[in-house]
């Protein structure tokens, strides 16, 4: 399924989920899951990100199968979800609580037989929730309409239901009774609807309701609109709403199927919008637009029910072993002096972070822009691929512990954040003076 802005709603998601599960287990092995029980989830989150991101980056560098029809690879999608997690500590805290709960039932469950699978399930749940949060945000950004994670889940449920109905229609000879139940009449010859059903746009909302209602009778689990869960309560008796959602999926599929949507990416200077941002802030400060503020009310999305976790499909344990990732390249002895000399001292960020050591400053770039960026001076980069040193190496270069480096890095980022507004004002005045 494709919807405006979404990245994680196509079949490739299964591969993304598996890769995240694998790499998360590998990352956990480095710092033992007992760390997830620590009092401060922020610390364990930082440690997890530092461990898992290089594993995924190594995968991404190798280039792999696309995980969606926009050309994002599985590893890139996994990596950007990890990047999102880093900014959403509440989701991480939920994972820690789930691990702690399991640990209370079965102490150190991850060391027991099957414990790996249990631990991986926790990560699967974490990312299943996160992908819908991320995509509902992406959707809102793309079309300016509010969307809850549960609404995203509902779109996907309807899309899956449509595909199931299409499959049944296709095999109407084998399933005459259920096709009859969906259409609301007895089936003798090939139903005309089966011939006419070409896309989700042709799917009638009543069929979805009838299909869901019939599932249990035909030997399956209760249909999604007929379980005891309240999740889709607002859709249950509302074919008009179902129809509108089906249409939206179908319309966008038709649009995105033949549309060239690359023109936005075509702008090399993708940060040009910053100028608009600074200008708008400045005009707002100078201007005297009379009130009242036109701020949107929080909208009540009927589908924004509390999200119960989507049951993850059982997964075989024969996942291929991951190639070990080297712990980083050697850093030349004069790296720090070379890197410091290459830093543009006039730059805003360099001056703002002057009180921090070079490794801390580089850790800031690593966190905000990733290990590779074409604006990094070559003197900063190491290894064949040309990337910033990893966190462990930076800590070593600075002669401090990894947790201390993380704390200083985050302090530097907070400092930059505070300075960022002021910088916007200065830049703006300089530009428009």
């Amino acid at each position: 399924m494709r919807l405006p802005g979404t990245r994680y709603q196509e079949h490739g998601w299964e591969q993304v989920r598996k890769l995240l599960g694998q790499c998360s287990l590998q990352a956990c092995a480095r710092f033992t899951p007992a760390m997830l029980l620590d009092a401060d989830p922020l610390d364990s989150l930082a440690a997890y990100i530092d461990a898992v991101a290089p594993l995924l980056q190594a995968r991404a560098a190798r280039g792999e199968a696309p995980g969606n029809s926009y050309g994002d690879t599985v590893a890139e999608l996994a990596l950007s979800l990890v990047f999102e997690l880093q900014a959403r500590p509440a989701d991480w805290a939920a994972l820690c609580a789930a691990v702690a709960g399991e640990h209370a039932r079965a102490p150190q469950f991850w060391t027991r037989p099957g414990g790996d699978a249990q631990l991986r399930k926790k990560f699967n749940d974490l990312y299943a929730v996160l992908r819908d949060k991320v995509d509902s945000d992406n959707y809102a950004v793309a079309c300016g309409r509010e969307c809850s994670p549960n609404r995203m889940y509902a779109y996907r449920m309807l899309d899956t239901a449509y595909h199931e109905i299409a499959r049944l229609f296709d095999a109407w000879r084998e399933h005459p009774a259920q096709v009859g139940a969906i259409l609301g009449r007895e089936i003798g010859a090939m139903p005309i609807e089966a011939r006419q059903l070409r896309s989700i746009l042709d799917c009638r909302p009543e069929w979805i309701l009838n299909w869901s209602a019939s599932q249990e009778r035909f030997g399956a689990a209760p249909g999604p609109l007929h379980t005891r869960s309240k999740r889709f309560a607002s859709l249950k008796d509302n074919p008009a709403k179902i129809g509108a959602m089906l249409r939206e999926i179908g319309d966008y599929e038709a649009l995105s199927g033949n549309a060239d949507r690359d023109w936005l990416q075509g702008q090399n200077d993708a940060d040009v919008w910053l100028e608009d941002y600074w200008r708008v802030l400045n005009e707002s400060e100078q201007g005297s637009t009379p009130g009242p503020d036109q701020i949107l009310e929080a909208q009540q999305d009927e589908l924004a029910a509390p999200v119960d976790i989507e049951p993850a499909a059982p997964e075989s344990l024969d996942a291929p072993a991951l190639a070990p990732v080297a712990d980083g390249f050697c850093v030349a002895p004069d790296y720090c002096s070379m890197a410091a000399a290459a830093e543009d001292r006039a730059s805003w960020a360099a001056r703002r972070m002057a009180q921090y050591s070079l490794p801390v400053r580089l850790a800031v770039y690593l966190k905000l822009l990733g290990p590779c960026d074409d604006s990094y001076p070559p003197e900063w980069l190491i290894g064949a691929g040309g990337e910033l040193p990893g966190m462990a190496q930076l800590a070593q270069l600075d002669g401090i512990s990894l947790p201390t480096l993380r704390k200083r890095r985050d302090a530097a980022i907070a400092h930059l954040n505070a300075a960022s507004l002021e910088a916007a004002g200065i830049e703006e005045k300089r530009r428009w003076a």
């Binding site: 999102e84 702008q267 708008v280 005009e283 637009t289 036109q294 805003w348 960020a349």
Partner: protein, 183 residues
């Protein structure tokens, strides 16, 4: 204090990477567009809302880039009004004030279809067509009437999305419409 390319990327990373639990869109597109166009500056409260909501900021970025794309193609949007005489009985072809676009509704096999046409003679039409920009038509209340890409003839067609007939619908929703570049 200079802003290097790396500084700008870092600032964009700071702004776009932030997340707020329970964040939502705080400002309507119309308010953001007004600020971008310079027709209505944000109030202090709106400015705080923009700065405090990464999601709203990401929407702002989307609109800013679309607007720049429009400016690059020489077109940042067009507006049109229903003529006062429209009684609601028949829906006539509508034109935008700049005569760049025609909007009309046809009966296509028992279903209403809405068609937007770019006038190839109008100023900037070739650039708009070449930019590959998507267009969105909204009614006076901001609801989407049509959304899509222009075909090589400068046309875009879609189903009429409302239960109410076109003339009545436009009358009830501000008696005007916008054609804007969209992302």
């Amino acid at each position: 204090m200079g802003m290097t390319q790396l500084d700008r990327k870092l600032q964009a990373g700071l702004l776009l990477g932030a997340r707020v639990e329970g964040d939502r869109l705080q400002l309507a597109d119309a308010v953001l567009r007004g600020a971008l166009d310079g027709t209505r500056a944000l109030t202090q409260g709106e400015r705080s809302a923009l700065q405090g909501s990464p999601l709203t900021l990401r929407r702002f970025r989307q609109l800013a880039l679309a607007r720049r794309q429009g400016v690059r193609s020489g077109w940042a949007g067009s507006r049109g009004m229903l003529r006062a005489a429209d009684s609601g009985a028949i829906f006539d072809t509508l034109h935008t004030d700049d005569r760049m676009w025609r909007l009309h509704v046809v009966d296509s096999g028992g279903k209403l279809a809405v068609i937007l046409q770019l006038d190839p003679q109008s100023r900037g039409a070739a650039q708009v067509l070449a930019s590959g920009v998507q267009v969105v038509v909204r009614d006076g209340a901001g609801a989407i009437v049509l959304h899509g890409c222009l075909d090589p003839d400068g046309e875009c067609e879609g189903p009429w999305p409302f239960a109410t007939a076109p003339a009545a619908h436009f009358q009830q929703h501000g008696a005007r419409f916008d054609v804007m570049p969209d992302v």
